[in-house]
Symmetry: C2
Subunit: 326 residues, 2 copies
């Protein structure tokens, strides 16, 4: 059993309640929509975000997960999936999680509308809690996520090479989601603000590592994630491994490589050259070192909580995120 | 001065506050996004939806429009615009209100993200009111709108010819927005539920007529709206004028025309034939008669309110919506 599977087992009844809630909230009188939803929900993904909502509620409460936790978890999972559905339209992605996407089975029109439908259903779940903090968190999250993506496009188009800008983008587009998860879990069980604040910091570090790990995939050919190597670079996105290497001005060919990365519309050979450069000069190792550093900071934060299977689950999920190969 | 212009004059300071609010809420530290927002906001449209929020607050309150009314009006206008932005991506529309669309100036990716950004900013405006009824109304509205659009696609794909189905669709995709507007205006000034209920019924009839009038445009060539005649039919959507004529089984050629409309992917000649058939057999007149009937019911409802410039404005806006030629 992987560490993620043992966490899933720890909260199995809650995950079952979550998936029932997601299905029932997305079921309507419209046959076409029901067909789309049913097909889509066949591939659940890892559900790391709702798991974080639940683990937060468990750690900050007394282990019991109430109905508001399920609502918040369902809300965040549907908001996340809405952005995946919209991403697939925009990137014209045909496969996700080894299955055909909504835009490939139906069309872009249906996929955009279904994404919008997921967003409003997510908000309805937050509203069910009647807790204005949860409603605000989910709504602010929607704004931060779209802003993060637009920031990333701006940074890519303008070839801004800065580790601070990179961290800002992955904080907005990925870590914000993880932070919102633990916040909402805490709000749902009326935890005290100080404990929530500690877990927020943990989730921020976890989210950064999640994205750094995700970005590393782009430096390797891996059929499992269904993405060709160098996809990010093709869109002008310079992620941590290459960024780090380019920022070391004393490396051989640095000037030439920096000029190359600033070119618009890189071809396959140019992408291969840049990826090779990052790998050859320790870019991947630097990214792993960064994750390890953030991981140690994060685990340190957990020390204020007494040992428990839930506290251990937070550590396991961090290690899983760094070590995962898909 | 048109009747719409005189209404706009009646609430000019409030409309100014609305547009300032919309601009400030959409302004961020992201230069690219600010550029998109600035370009987009140059073309405001008629702003009928926020006008309805304000008129509702004026009619049900004592004429004064508070800050919550502005927040609700800004929320509904931004949600409406989000769906226009997404529609333009899906339909690959190059021009709206005589100006290039976001997807045509930038690209689909930016346009989908900006639409999502508008949705979450809209919700933040609703949340500012701290009134759970307003938050719920806006969030439910988002769900109803996307459901209405998906219903329409289903009905078109399955060639369902029923006036009841047509009315259900335009109720969900258009009238629901008008109903939400007057509800939120009433909630924002804490009006009594009974008065809100009357205005809801009025707004429902207004919304149906808005869509029926909109659908009639498709039967005529009009460069002002920038749409070729028969656009709806090209997507399989059978609107009221043609629907009514097709449902009269004793008309000459009815069987032939009904078979034709059930064909997928109609060509230009077939579309011209069907439009000619609807016009020749009184389809347009029937749609106008329907609007007149709904208009009279709606005006009747207003009698419970004492005469005032605001009550008159509701009548004017109804007549404007039926008579408008764009």
């Amino acid at each position: 059993m992987t560490s993620l599977e043992s966490i899933q087992q720890l909260i199995a009844p809650e995950l079952k309640a979550l998936n029932e809630r997601i299905t029932s909230s997305l079921t309507t009188s419209n046959q076409l929509l029901n067909q789309v939803v049913e097909t889509y929900l066949k591939t659940k993904g890892k559900q790391i975000r709702p798991i974080l909502v639940m683990l937060s509620a468990r750690l900050l409460g007394n282990g019991a997960i109430n109905d508001d936790v399920i609502s918040a978890a369902a809300g965040v999972e549907m908001l996340h999936n809405a952005s995946l559905i919209h991403d697939d339209v925009v990137d014209d992605t045909k496969l996700r999680r080894d299955r055909p996407t909504i835009n490939s089975i139906w069309d872009n029109h249906i996929a955009v509308l279904v994404g919008d439908f997921f967003v409003s259903t997510a908000l309805q779940q937050a509203i069910l809690t009647d807790d204005i903090r949860i409603i605000k968190t989910l709504s602010n999250l929607g704004k931060t996520l779209s802003l993060g993506e637009i920031d990333q496009i701006y940074t890519a188009q303008n070839h801004i090479l800065s580790e601070k800008a990179y961290m800002g983008i992955i904080s907005a587009k990925t870590a914000s989601l993880f932070v919102s998860c633990v916040e909402m879990g805490g709000y749902a069980i009326k935890a005290n603000d100080e404990a929530i604040m500690i877990l927020r910091q943990f989730a921020q570090l976890l989210g950064l590592c999640f994205q750094i790990r995700d970005d590393i995939f782009d430096y390797f050919e891996d059929p499992k994630i269904g993405k060709p190597t160098g996809n990010d670079l093709r869109e002008g996105k310079v992620t941590l491994p290459l960024l780090h290497v380019l920022l070391q001005k004393d490396l051989p060919d640095n000037e030439k490589m920096t000029a190359l990365v600033r070119k618009d519309n890189l071809d396959n050979d140019e992408i291969a050259t840049l990826i090779g450069y990052a790998r050859q000069h320790g870019g991947i190792e630097y990214a792993y070192d960064t994750m390890q550093r953030l991981r140690n900071q994060a685990i340190e934060l957990l020390n204020i909580f007494p040992p428990s299977d839930t506290r251990q689950a937070f550590i396991s999920i961090f290690d899983y995120i760094i070590a995962r190969d898909y």
